[in-house]
Subunit: 245 residues, 2 copies
């Protein structure tokens, strides 16, 4: 672990959210006060983080108007089939073992509250799990689900059933998902959970699942050992193109 100044840690987090498209071009950034509250830091620290974002041309700060994202991601999202992806997730769930680490209720805070489109303080169910394959850990999963959809999310159910399936049992119909795929390094706690060295490479997936009414129903941060799990993404002509194009 390096001794990274607090303001720079916040800068790094926000930069990632901007370059990933999670904070879209033109969207409003939190104020110094909001940032200070969300991260539990002083306003001076929050101000330095925003100043560093401005100096790297990711955001523009204007008097009265506030701070807005000016970065435009160079690549557009790739699009895939949600039904096929859910099937793949369920297969993955069946063919790996899961170890429940934590299950609790916690009030929403940024950026999770933003991702789920809820007010800060809204009660969320928080689930931490580690997936195993052949007696070695594969990935660390941190999930948030609005508490009103969590009636089926119990310790017993989590042992056998993927969270998405438990959300569907609450009457939710999955409609779409947005995902950001990135790479990071294992910090001390992730390294311990995944049996790797601190600083080992980690494949990082941030996903928000949305129901057919447009409501975000799950936000998950999945962090995988790339020596044990990689993403396969195959591209084809659309079925409609094959039939009619």
């Amino acid at each position: 672990m390096h001794a990274v100044p607090l303001y720079h840690q916040i800068f790094l987090r926000l930069r990632e959210e901007i370059t990933s498209g999670e904070r879209a071009h033109g969207s409003r950034m939190p104020t110094e006060q909001e940032l200070a509250a969300a991260f539990g830091v002083s306003r001076i620290t929050a101000r330095r983080a925003l100043a560093e974002l401005a100096s790297t041309n990711l955001v523009a700060r204007k008097r009265r108007v506030g701070t807005h994202v000016i970065f435009e991601p160079p690549a557009r999202p790739i699009e895939g089939s949600i039904d096929q992806a859910i099937e793949s997730l369920l297969t993955f769930g069946r063919s790996t073992q899961v170890k429940l680490i934590e299950l609790d209720e916690a009030p929403a805070r940024a950026p999770i509250s933003d991702a789920l489109g809820v007010e800060a303080g809204t009660p969320l169910i928080r689930v931490v799990r580690v997936r195993w394959l052949e007696n070695e850990p594969l990935g660390h999963l941190l999930s948030y689900v609005p508490a009103d959809l969590g009636e089926h999310i119990t310790r017993a159910a989590l042992r056998t059933t993927p969270i998405l399936a438990l959300i569907e049992q609450a009457g939710v119909k999955i409609g779409s998902a947005t995902q950001t795929i990135s790479a990071t390094l294992a910090d001390a706690s992730l390294a311990a959970a995944l049996s790797v060295e601190i600083g080992a490479p980690i494949l990082r997936i941030s996903r928000t699942v949305i129901d057919t009414n447009g409501r975000p129903v799950q936000h998950i941060l999945a962090q995988y050992r790339p020596d044990r799990y990689q993403i396969r993404l195959d591209l084809h002509k659309n079925k409609t193109d094959l039939h009619f194009g």
Copy 2:
């Protein structure tokens, strides 16, 4: 840089090819002789690499039958639209700058020859580029194209035009692609090319592009700085499902 024994480096490379699905369940692994020739190492080194794969239950070695992959990837590939992905790649090409590092012709060797489905020794065009955005490097791209499709791949053309577009100028119709997305650490040369520290996290994409006749026409290894570029993958109901489902 760590002093990793040669046999372990080969083990790591082969393990990645197996866990990523590039070497499929049931497929034959190279013999000791083939491996020694492909990597330019002794048969003893090749044997140790295969023994390490066998000891981690990724392959099984049987007398007379040879070595076969027994690992089954737990997740199925996600599927996406090739046309939309090509559009995204071209947009990406237009909105970033490219610096050509190397352009030469080289005989195919494993695993590139396997990925492109050609005999070892087949002439390939090899292109090394770095993509830049706003005066900072973003990604390092290593491409291989069969030489007979390379007539339009010139220094001048590469300055302005994505390789896929140049392949299309040779009469190729892009049909599909398989991709593996992973994470790794920057080694010394990649760190220098991308202006990051040795050991920085890297988002790694290995992609084989296939034409409408099923012929592999490009293999590319793209390595990105995750603080500058991340993959967005959005999942929806299929259009056909929306119309008829």
